[in-house]
């Protein structure tokens, strides 16, 4: 058995525990080194797992060597290794950015950050539905604490909503799991996938009820249309490094939708007949709501939060097509949108720091101290998010458009996605021209960004040109991952 698979869960746990023990607990510098170093090692580890999973069959890791339907199993395939890699890349940027002062607001910032990484990595790796619930809770309780880290009225207010909504979501998740267990007698995803075809009509009805609940739970996590209201306030009130890490959180919901509906339940007839249409329309409406939010935003941070919703809408709509081409497009666009929105969160904070009282609000303010660096970063990020060549957003959106089959679906998706891109272009160019050109007053008190902040920002900003530079091999890799995902769906746990 390949023990590397469980390391992305155990390593952040170890780092988190270490940061709370001597000599790290008293020394901020040591704690920062440990946290950034830990994230870097995690990045190397996940790159290793990407290499291992490429061009090789998926691997199943049985915890405690208990055979699959009875024990808990972890599944490593190309999709999960890609998600691990994305998470650790964000973790490096977030821990580096937080090391420039944000982590002084409370003693446990780095510990919480790594606990959250543990939960996210676990959710990406697990092949067991109940274990997915457990890792959701691990990442959620860390995110609750990170959300209110540093305190303040706005954070407390956003946290109360966020915590209560997620607790209700967890309860619904448990109802769904009990229904699935009652109907099929298994919670292992692979086992469930093979058993779906043999279920009787009554059992299928129970499973349908469970799936409806799961749709609500994952939709809440991903912030799909009627369940997205919590996101704007929550993401715009958290500190920037945490917001950058939270960019992956909605993607955990998307990933769970992909795993459970496209892979586990693809043989169940009702998924194609009502689950996918629901996701399709919800996705399109989510894009529209997100764009409205972006247009109405009064500051850059809120704008970034609503841009997260726009990308979620596009991902959910494309997910509902259920074809390998759509999964390929989804994976590429997911990587691009996560990195781009995370970069925008960091950028918004740097701009806010340098504009004095005006902050990142879209009003006249002081000139930023580093207009060239921040302006260039803003142009790259904004054009990438809107989907202009030569940046990764263009390729991502092109793949999305190509994945939609001809007919009425094409008409709807093309008009919504392209229309939203135009509106985003207007909103972002308005924001950029106000922030960088409508300046008033002197810049005597200019505060330059520290090197750690600049490096963290550059890591994320440069990801976009890199993603488009290596678009050929990357899309080929995503295609292989999509094909592998379809193949795994037909395997039973005994086949590994």
């Amino acid at each position: 058995m390949n023990h590397l698979i469980i390391l992305p869960i155990l390593w952040p746990l170890l780092v988190a525990l270490l940061t709370m023990l001597p000599p790290f607990d008293q020394n901020l510098l040591l704690r920062r080194c440990l946290s950034v170093g830990g994230s870097l090692i995690l990045l190397l580890l996940s790159l290793l797992l990407v290499i291992q999973s490429t061009d090789s069959p998926a691997q199943l890791y049985q915890l405690g060597n208990w055979p699959a339907p009875f024990g808990i199993s972890l599944l490593l395939d190309q999709v999960s290794s890609l998600m691990l890699c994305l998470t650790s890349a964000l973790a490096v940027a977030a821990s580096l950015y937080a090391s420039s002062g944000e982590d002084e607001n409370g003693p446990f910032f780095h510990a919480l950050l790594h606990f959250q990484l543990m939960g996210i990595n676990g959710a990406f790796l697990t092949a067991d539905l109940f274990n997915l619930f457990v890792f959701f809770e691990v990442l959620l309780i860390a995110s609750y604490s990170l959300l209110i880290h540093g305190g303040g009225k706005a954070k407390t207010k956003a946290a109360v909503h966020y915590v209560i909504l997620n607790l209700v979501g967890s309860a619904l998740f448990l109802f769904a799991l009990a229904l699935i267990y009652g109907a099929s007698g298994t919670l292992n995803m692979l086992d469930l996938g093979t058993k779906v075809a043999t279920l009787s009509d009554t059992q299928l009805q129970l499973l349908q009820a469970a799936v409806a609940l799961l749709l609500v739970v994952f939709g809440l996590k991903a912030a799909v249309m009627p369940l997205h209201f919590w996101l704007g306030n929550a993401y715009s009130s958290v500190s920037p490094a945490v917001a950058a890490l939270f960019a992956i959180m909605t993607k955990v919901g998307i990933y769970s939708l992909l795993r459970v509906f496209a892979m586990v339940l693809q043989d169940a007839g009702f998924v194609a007949s009502w689950v996918f249409p629901v996701l399709w329309w919800a996705g399109l409406l989510t894009i529209l709501m997100g764009v409205l939010g972006v247009l109405a935003s009064e500051d850059l941070r809120k704008m970034a939060s609503y841009l997260v919703i726009v990308s979620v809408g596009a991902l959910v709509a494309i997910l509902s097509l259920g074809t390998p081409e759509s999964v390929e497009a989804l994976l590429y666009y997911l990587v691009h949108s996560t990195l781009a929105t995370a970069a925008l969160f960091l950028l918004a904070d740097l701009i806010a720091h340098q504009r004095g009282k005006a902050g990142d609000r879209l009003v006249n303010g002081r000139k930023v101290a580093q207009p060239v660096l921040l302006g260039a970063a803003f142009i790259v990020v904004a054009l990438s998010i809107v989907g202009m060549p030569p940046f990764s957003g263009f390729i991502g959106k092109l793949l999305l458009l190509q994945a939609v089959p001809q007919g009425s679906a094409m008409l709807w998706f093309w008009s919504v996605l392209l229309g939203s891109s135009v509106l985003l272009l207007i909103a972002l160019s308005r924001a950029g021209s106000i922030l960088f050109w409508q300046v008033a007053g002197s810049d005597t008190e200019a505060r330059m960004a520290g090197s750690r902040r600049s490096i963290a920002l550059m890591l994320l900003v440069l990801a976009s040109p890199l993603l488009s530079l290596f678009a050929g091999p990357l899309t080929a890799w995503c295609k292989a991952a999509a094909v592998q995902l379809q193949q795994i769906a037909n395997l039973s746990p005994g086949a590994f």
């Binding site: 946290a159 109360v160 009990a178």
Partner: protein, 118 residues
């Protein structure tokens, strides 16, 4: 027995939904606790209800499904932890925001301009 368990779960869930919709942190907390009781009973029942069946394998001929018991145990522990977190957060919110409404501000009453006093 199935009917009785179903009714209990239903009543608990109804009360929980009512309490959560009260939108005051204490009521919401009670509601979430009740919801987790309902969920725990529901998970427990998902393995099938049996009378006189052993909980330990090989102790009796007939035994209850062990997996839901393991699941319920995990769910209870997680539920406790989350409730504890929400209790602390609610106290913090009461102190920070000056009232116990989940929106952080009291809704304006219909007949007065000042709104309810806190």
């Amino acid at each position: 027995m199935e009917l009785l368990v179903a009714i209990i779960i239903g009543v608990l869930t109804c009360c929980a939904v009512f309490l959560i919709l009260r939108a005051r942190t204490f009521a919401v907390m009670l509601g979430l606790t009740m919801l987790s009781y309902a969920v725990n009973l529901f998970i427990f029942a998902s393995g099938g209800l049996k009378i006189g069946a052993g909980t330990v394998l090989k102790a009796t001929e007939e035994y209850a499904d062990p997996l839901p018991q393991a699941l319920v145990l995990t769910a209870i522990v997680i539920g406790f932890a989350m409730t504890a977190f929400l209790v602390v957060l609610s106290i913090r919110a009461r102190a920070d925001l000056g009232n116990d409404h989940v929106d952080g501000k009291l809704p304006v009453a219909k007949n007065t301009r000042q709104g309810a006093s806190s």
